[in-house]
Each structure stands twice: as C-alpha cells, then as structure tokens.
C-alpha cells in the first residue's frame, strides 16, 4: 500500500484539513490566550495588554468556579448515565420482533432532530411550567400539589431535556451494535446454560462496550458545550451554571473579556483533560 509516491500524496491530501483546523484552533485560541492576560473591558473602554495571571487567579478563586465545575461534571455524568442505560434498554427492546418496528424507530429518533433551543422552550413552557405545564395538570389530576421542576429540581429538569435529545443517538448506535452481535454467541451461551440475565450481563453488555465508549466520547464532546438549554430554561440560576455558562456570563454579561478569556482557557484545558482521558479509552477500543 505504502509506496513513497502514495505517502507523499497522503501528506498533500491531509494538509488542507490539518491546516484549516490548525488555523481554527490556533488563531482564535492565541487571541483568547492574549486576552486572558489582558485587562480587556470594552464597556469601560479599558484595554491593558498585560496584567499577568490576575484573570486566572480571579477566575479560579471566584466562588462560582468550583460549583460550576461540579455542576458541569454532574450534569454530563448524569446525562451519560441516563442515555446509556436508557439507550441499552431501548436498543434491546427495539431489537425484539414486533409490529411496526420502523415506525417505532422513527418515533424514538425524532428528538434528535429538534433544535436545542426549541426543545428547551417546549419543555420549559409546555411541560415544566408550574401553572400551565402538562406535568402540573398531571399532578393536579392525581390531586397533588404541582411540582415546580425548574426551581425545585433545576438540574434534573435540564438533564431530562438534554437526555431526551441524546437518548435517540445512544439508542441508535447501541441498536446497531446489538444487531451486530453474532447470534451464535448467544446460542452458545444458551447451550452453556446461561439464563437471560446472565446472557445480558456476560455476553451482550461486553459486546456493547465498544459502542458505549463511542457514545460516551461523542456525547461528552457535545455535552460539555451545552448552552441553549440552560440559557432558555434557568439562565444559570438554581445551581445550573456550568463552566461554559460561567464563561458566557463573564464574557457577555459582565463584559469582562479578559476574565472570560481566562475562563475559556481554563475550560479548554479541563475539556482536554477529559478528552485525553476519553481518547485513551476510545483509542484503545479503536485498535482492537
């Protein structure tokens, strides 16, 4: 495969992609890095190019940093947990023989196509709203006091919304994985005397592990940057402020570009730590 000719061709072929991504990564990132050491507050007309690590110190020591970090991890973790357990269940269910499998699949996949803004608006107003939301009617129907999701269980509510959007993704990937399981393996385990639960635990679940890591990787990439759902529902109130959202507040609400840039750099570093960690797992899985 690899002749000198094809190798040099490969270098030329890969160059545009690497180049644009490098530019995309480096130019704004360098500017952000530059701003992060500056006192840059356009609203005050302040621009002082070098103030050392003040912004970093301020960002990292601010009372909101740790809580937002924790919120981020908790949110991403819970959504992953829900989508993966839900996805595995749905995948197994959809794999069963049934009538109208195609239609069910279409129903399940639909939330994936919905714009985050739209789904946040719909959930917030038409489901979670304590006066006019459907859930409240449900509570009232059973004679209960309506529950105010967005203030009483804000994180949970956002998790529900996002999980709803990403569950189809997990389901689809896992469904394909389930379908790729060699049926002879299941039959072999059946001959070996394994009951249904053991078959799931010892055969199906390990078989899905690769697909699960891929789901985790892709979703984490997208979940770390959740924004619209928080912006629309709670605006960061009730402890739903993630790191991304905190940076947003610094940049756009407080108009402190220097501080926000420092926050952005911190977020990049943290995201990459998570990324490297995930890539290790996935990279290993990609090899096998």
């Amino acid at each position: 495969m690899a002749t000198a000719h094809s190798r040099s061709a490969a270098r030329i072929m890969i160059a545009p992609a690497v180049f644009v991504l490098l530019v995309w990564m480096l130019v704004p990132l360098c500017m952000t890095l530059y701003f992060s050491f500056a006192d840059y507050r356009p609203m005050r007309g302040v621009f002082e190019p070098w103030i050392g690590f003040d912004n970093y110190a301020r960002f990292l020591t601010s009372s909101s940093f740790l809580s937002s970090l924790f919120t981020t991890l908790w949110m991403v973790g819970s959504i992953l947990a829900i989508t993966i357990t839900g996805g595995v269940t749905m995948a197994l269910l959809l794999d069963k023989p049934m009538f109208g499998q195609g239609i069910v699949r279409i129903l399940v996949i639909a939330p994936f196509f919905v714009m985050p803004t739209v789904s946040a608006l719909v959930w917030k107003n038409m489901f979670f709203n304590v006066d006019n939301g459907l859930f409240s009617y449900g509570y009232k129907f059973f004679g209960l006091e309506p529950f105010d999701f967005l203030s009483q269980a804000p994180l949970f509510s956002i998790i529900i919304i996002v999980a709803w959007q990403w569950l189809p993704f997990a389901t689809l990937i896992l469904l394909t994985a389930v379908q790729s399981l060699d049926s002879e393996q299941l039959e072999a385990s059946e001959m070996d005397g394994a009951p249904a639960w053991s078959r799931f635990r010892f055969i199906i679940l390990p078989h899905l592990s690769r697909a699960i890591t891929v789901v985790i990787l892709i979703q984490t990439i997208f979940l770390l940057s959740i924004f619209a759902e928080i912006f629309v529902t709670t605006n960061g109130a009730f402890g739903t402020r993630t790191l991304t959202y905190l940076v947003y507040q610094r940049v756009l609400e407080s108009q402190n570009i220097g501080l926000g840039s420092a926050g952005g750099i911190v977020a990049v570093i943290l995201a990459n730590i998570i990324a490297i960690f995930l890539m290790r797992i996935v990279g290993k899985n990609l090899d096998s």
């Binding site: 356009p42 105010d148 203030s151």
Partner: protein, 416 residues
C-alpha cells in the same frame, strides 16, 4: 431612481415593537429611499447581540433598541450618536417626559429616543379586594400589601394574593427587588463602592419579600418573570401584581379574563420616602458605527414621534399606543378616556428619581439598576441567589451572604 438605503434595526420581541413592524409601510411610503430590515429577538438574545456588536466596533445595526441602563454607559463611551440635532423638525424633544429624557441624557446629549416608557405600580383585582373587605389606597404601604395579599389568597381556587417577579435576572427579579429595596432604605453600594448586602435594610427587604411571596405568592414563583405573571393575572390567578405600568393595557385588554375588574395604585412604600417603583424606557439609539446615521435619524424620528402615536391610535385604538414618553399624550383627552391607567402611569413615572433612588446617598444613578457596566453581570448572579432563596433552596441570610461575596469579588475585579 435613487439608491435605496437599507436600515437594519434590532428590536426586542415585545408587542409594541412588533406592532411597529406592522406599520413599516407608513414610514417607507414617506421615505421611499429607505428600506427597513428588522432583527427581532428575545430580550436576552437581543442584548447579547447588540452588546457584542457595539463593543467590538459594530456596524451591523443602524438602529438598536436599548434600555435606560445601557444608554448612559454607551453614551459615556461615545458609542452613540447624539440626537440633539438632526432629528425631524416636528420631533419635539421638549415634549418628552423629563424623568424619561433625563435617564437618556449624558452631559446634555440625548443619546436615545424613548419608544415607550414605564414605571411600576400595583395592579389589583377590585372584585377580590372587595371580597376581602379591604380597600386599596392610592399609595399603599408594603404592610398593607402583604396583609391584603394574605386576605385575598384562596389556594383552593388557585388565587394567589400577590404576584411578583421571582425569575432570576437583572431585568427580572432584580429590577423588582432593587426598586423595592429602595423603599426599605437599602442600597447596592455606599459612596465608596462597598457592597451593601450585609446591611439590615437588605435583610429586611429580602425577608419581607420572601415572607410575602411564601404566604401569598404563586407556586413556582421563582420562575415567574413578567410574562409568566402577566399570564397568571390574565387568567385570574393573581389578586395583586406589582409590575411595569405597560402591563396595564394588557390586563385590561382583550386577552385578559379579568379586564373589567382591574384597579391601579402606586407602588408601595415603607414610610421612608422612596417608593418601590422603577423607571425604564425602551429607546431607539443609533450607534456611531452606523454608516447611515441620517436615514437612521429619520426612522427614529418617525418611530418616536407624536404622529406615530396617532398612527397607532388610528390603527389599533388609543389604548394601544406606546405609553410613557410624551407629556402631550397625557394631555390628550382621547387617550385619557381610553386608558384608565394613564394617570397612575404618569404619576409613577414622575415619582421615580434615578439620581436619588434611595434614602441614603449613592455614587450611582438608576432606580432598579446601577448604571455601571458591571451591573448586569453582577445583578444576574445576585438575582440567581435571590431566586434560589425564593425557591426555598437556601435561606435569605445565605442568599445575602453569597450576594455580598460575589458582588465584592466582581466590583474588585472591576477595579473599584
């Protein structure tokens, strides 16, 4: 023919603005050389877009809809075009309500033309008040409001004595609470820019607010902003509602189920002098980065003129004209007849004093805000703390402590 100049106008998606969009034809008929492009966005998104635009040197918009908070700051930064001259001849600057115009003027330059102005007041259900055996004074006290709210509350019939903003945000609950705190003698900063959330007046304000809302407020009040409360009131689920004066036309309008039994009163006080009412105007400003300032001035003149008011009146009735900007409107008998809330609105607006908002002297201007660039960021976060307290997730003391801490942090970061 001549080249057509296209103006890009950023507006907030509220009713008056959308109505203006509908009347565009009137302007373009008169100015065939100008075309209008509307960018209509939800308030938060709008602010995010126009702020980014103006602070990065802008140029995307020729006319921006901004509030009383932004105008002085942006004017100070020399980002806005002064409207002292170049406006249409019949655009009568002297006719603007002094309180409103004052808030839009920096160093003698008027930097934005008010599209509509508002203060806040008490809207209440006359029928429920009667049922409770009480009578609303024209200028109630907070104590009265709290008692009346308790008396009107009838949870079985989904009637809450008091509706007020609880949703986090500097333009949501913090507008209400800051205005309210003024009447309790609280302030954001002392004259040396020290945050004041650790003082007794703030504790009193928050305790009172939480107490009243818990007794008589709606379930889920911590998520209720202007829109949510409006719906509640229109559905007949509120005994009283303290909010912007512009709401008056909606609660007495066609969408309201209780339009016939709405009364109005001044925002409450606490016997210390200031009332808990604010002052706000959605205004049209022209950024310096616009290359079409002349055309933009023509448009702003049209949109904030008396004749525009008449145009709306002719099309939609007097009750729907944008209120709170011109003295002449409140001298117009037709309007006063159509708008039972007119007098109370005018009185509310006139009684707000942005330069001396509270009992003690302050280094800033603004009634329900502090006119410094950092305010929005700080108040959003403080608002989250208070909203969290209203939701019952923390105590008033905790919320105040957190508010104090983060305000100190931010104000230090800002270099005060």
């Amino acid at each position: 023919q001549d080249q057509v100049t296209t103006l890009t106008i950023a507006t907030v998606n509220n009713g008056d603005m959308i109505r203006m969009q509908g009347l565009t034809a009137d302007f373009t008929d008169k100015n065939p050389d100008i075309a209008l492009e509307w960018v209509t966005l939800e308030e938060n998104v709008l602010r995010q877009n126009v702020t980014t635009d103006i602070s990065t040197g802008g140029g995307a918009y020729d006319v921006m809809t901004i509030g009383t908070y932004e105008v002085p700051i942006w004017g100070n930064n020399d980002w806005l075009v002064s409207l002292n001259d170049g406006m249409a001849d019949d655009w009568d600057a002297g006719d603007l309500l002094p309180a409103i115009a004052g808030g839009l003027t920096v160093d003698g330059n008027l930097y934005a033309a008010p599209f509509y102005g508002e203060s806040s007041m008490v809207m209440y259900r006359t029928d429920l008040m009667e049922k409770a055996g009480l009578e609303m004074p024209d200028a109630p006290t907070w104590t009265f409001i709290r008692e009346a709210a308790a008396a009107m509350t009838d949870r079985d019939n989904e009637i809450n004595g008091i509706c007020a903003r609880g949703k986090a945000g500097w333009g949501e609950n913090m507008a209400f609470l800051t205005a309210m705190s003024n009447s309790f003698g609280a302030r954001w900063f002392d004259e040396d820019w020290n945050a004041q959330f650790d003082t007794q007046p703030w504790a009193d304000t928050l305790d009172f607010y939480l107490g009243m809302m818990n007794e008589s407020g709606p379930n889920g009040a911590a998520n209720n902003g202007f829109n949510e409360n409006l719906t509640l009131f229109q559905q007949g689920k509120c005994g009283m509602w303290i909010d912007a004066t512009v709401a008056a036309s909606f609660v007495t309008g066609a969408d309201s189920t209780v339009a016939d039994s709405v009364g109005f009163a001044l925002a409450p006080d606490n016997g210390l002098g200031p009332r808990g009412n604010w002052l706000w105007a959605w205004s049209l400003a022209i950024p310096k980065s616009s290359e079409k300032q002349d055309a933009a001035k023509k448009f702003v003149s049209w949109a904030t003129s008396k004749s525009y008011t008449e145009l709306v009146a002719a099309n939609e009735g007097w009750a729907n004209v944008p209120p709170g900007t011109r003295t002449s409107l409140y001298e117009n008998q037709e309007y006063l007849d159509a708008a039972p809330f007119a007098a109370m609105t005018l009185q509310s607006i006139n009684s707000a004093d942005p330069t001396n908002p509270t009992v003690d002297p302050v280094p800033y201007t603004g009634v329900q805000f502090v006119a410094i660039p950092e305010f929005a960021g700080i108040a959003n976060q403080v608002g989250q703390q208070f909203s969290d307290a209203l939701a019952g997730n923390q105590t008033a003391a905790q919320a105040l402590a957190a508010a104090q801490e983060l305000t100190v942090e931010e104000i230090e970061a800002a270099g005060y």
